[in-house]
């Protein structure tokens, strides 16, 4: 199989930028990769890409990691974070990584607005799409993953 358009290394680079900019500006709590594709998550967000490339970018984590992300993004204490904060931040995380991913894809792609699901990533199913790369790890001991799914029937829907 040829190398995917966006590799795990590419995702790692983008994710590192997000951590440095917003989630871990002090550089003390990075995302530690563990390669655990099947680690359980509790919430996830997705942006879809259409046009010259079809697929999805999925950000998934535990509720605790999402709460921690919301607290970091919004400069709040974790116990002040509400469900709306978590949803907004999850959507923004998928949007930021998805937007960066889009820059690596062929010209003529469109990025959707994010959707957020307060349920495990296994609750969403992407028909006729397969995972082409993913970054799996923990942040302060909590599961976080970022994965790319490419439609396998893009010639039919392009």
């Amino acid at each position: 199989m040829s190398e995917p358009v966006v590799t795990e290394g590419d995702l790692a680079e983008m994710v590192e930028q997000v951590w440095v900019s917003y989630l871990d500006p002090e550089g003390v709590s990075p995302l530690v990769q563990n390669g655990e594709v099947k680690q359980p998550t509790e919430v996830h967000s997705t942006v879809s890409i259409t046009g010259s490339w079809h697929g999805h970018l999925v950000y998934a984590s535990s509720v605790q990691a999402a709460t921690r992300a919301a607290a970091a993004f919004l400069a709040m204490e974790p116990d002040e974070v509400g469900q709306e904060d978590i949803s907004d931040v999850l959507g923004e995380l998928a949007n930021i990584v998805g937007g960066n991913v889009k820059a690596m894809l062929p010209a003529g792609c469109f990025l959707s607005l994010p959707t957020v699901v307060l349920a495990p990533d296994t609750a969403s199913y992407y028909p006729a799409a397969e995972r082409i790369s993913g970054l799996y790890g923990t942040w302060a001991g909590e599961p976080v993953s970022i994965s790319m799914w490419q439609s396998v029937k893009q010639e039919a829907s392009a």
Binding site: S21, Y22, D88, E92, N95, I96, K102, G108
Partner: protein, 120 residues
Amino acid sequence: MKILIADDSRVMRQIVTRTLRQAGFGDHDLVEAADGQQAVDIAVAEKPDLVISDWNMPEMTGIEVLRKLRAAGNNVKFGFVTSECTPEMQQAAEAAGSAFFIVKPFTAERFDEVFSPILG
């Protein structure tokens, strides 16, 4: 100066506000819009000196907002803060009269670099 921050994400509006403050532009008057149509309406009603806009928004995209304002003869200084950064988008932004293009994630240093010449 009055600055309009247009982004459908409340989180990102808050982060832009915070980053402006961190970059030393905290004492400007800030107004917000949560979608493209609101951005046009507020840009017309409030007459900001600067518009910092997301690209991908409901109702109207950021580039449509810019084109609409320019078509109406509104020459407010306008630029993008977006997670999307393809060369075709940057060209479209420039052609429409955009003054800057900041890619998310961004830092206070990047804001300082872009906004110092504009905001002083």
